[in-house]
Amino acid sequence: MFQCKDVAEEASNYLDGDLPLKKRIGILLHLMICRCCRNYLQQIRKTIKTITNIYPKEQHNTDVKSLAEKLRNLPEN
């Protein structure tokens, strides 16, 4: 029988559809009886959607314009 801890550990794989059938069914059965885990998965879903929308990027100090210009003027180009 799947427990809340198992759902927390497999939340990403479950949401991405990357679980073997047996585990998927185990989680589904647990979700039917556990409101907390249903809410937890909903929160993870919203977290993913929020991050995707915010789209944080790697911080860097590269001057994109001058790098583009440097690449454009490469001798072989």
Binding site: S12, C34, N39, Y40, Q43, I54, H60
Partner: protein
């Protein structure tokens, strides 16, 4: 859950032709679009110290090889593959070992009882749709800050899978990791950012 990103091959072909012709707007567009992503991959493989150099070299190699680009993969995948190859070569030279366990904060064990059941009540984020969460500038800044403090390999996986919609197989290939390791990193990154939103809501 996974978003479907379709590749516009016509536009990409035109863009590559413009690059070969030396069009400055095309160069700015491509560097502006992919530089951060390439840096993310390089940092995940080689770490912060050498990543800038690896990406600069990758750009030069890619631009020189552009006339030979056959379009079998997207421009993005091709650029990331060149970055990844450069970073892996550099790793071999520097013999650096990177750990999967940097900065991982799992769900605290005291949230579950001895049978694995949750001790606390988890409430749905009903009123906080992603749009509503986004309207909150303070939260947005906190998420961005937390994202940037994630271990580089978690940032790279999260960026490629959730934000760029890349296939698991491509990501494994680029980062030279097994699918199970990529899934672990993805889950850790998502869980950490979930904690960040949860803590913000609680305070």
């Amino acid at each position: 859950m996974k978003k479907i990103f379709k590749r516009d091959q016509t536009n990409e072909k035109e863009l590559i032709e413009q690059l070969i012709k030396g069009d400055s707007a095309a160069f700015e567009l491509v560097v502006g679009t992919y530089h951060s992503l390439m840096l993310s991959v390089a940092r995940a493989i080689i770490g912060q110290a050498f990543a800038d150099e690896v990406v600069q070299d990758a750009w030069v190699s890619a631009i020189k090889a552009l006339p030979k680009f056959e379009g079998r993969s997207s421009l993005k995948t091709w650029l990331l593959q060149i970055t990844s190859n450069g970073a892996k070569t550099r790793v071999r030279r520097e013999s650096r070992q990177l750990s999967l366990d940097d900065g991982w904060e799992s769900i605290s064990a005291d949230k579950f009882d001895h049978t694995g059941h949750r001790l606390d009540d988890v409430l749905p984020w009903e009123e906080d749709t992603p749009d509503a969460l986004l309207e909150n500038e303070q939260l947005q800044a906190i998420i961005e800050e937390r994202f940037n403090s994630l271990p580089a390999n978690q940032r790279a996986v999260l960026t490629m899978y959730d934000m760029e919609g890349m296939e698991m197989k491509e990501i494994c290939n680029i980062l030279d990791l097994s699918a199970s390791n990529v899934r672990v990193l993805l889950h850790r990154a998502r869980t950490t950012l979930h904690h960040t939103i949860e803590n913000y809501r609680d305070n």
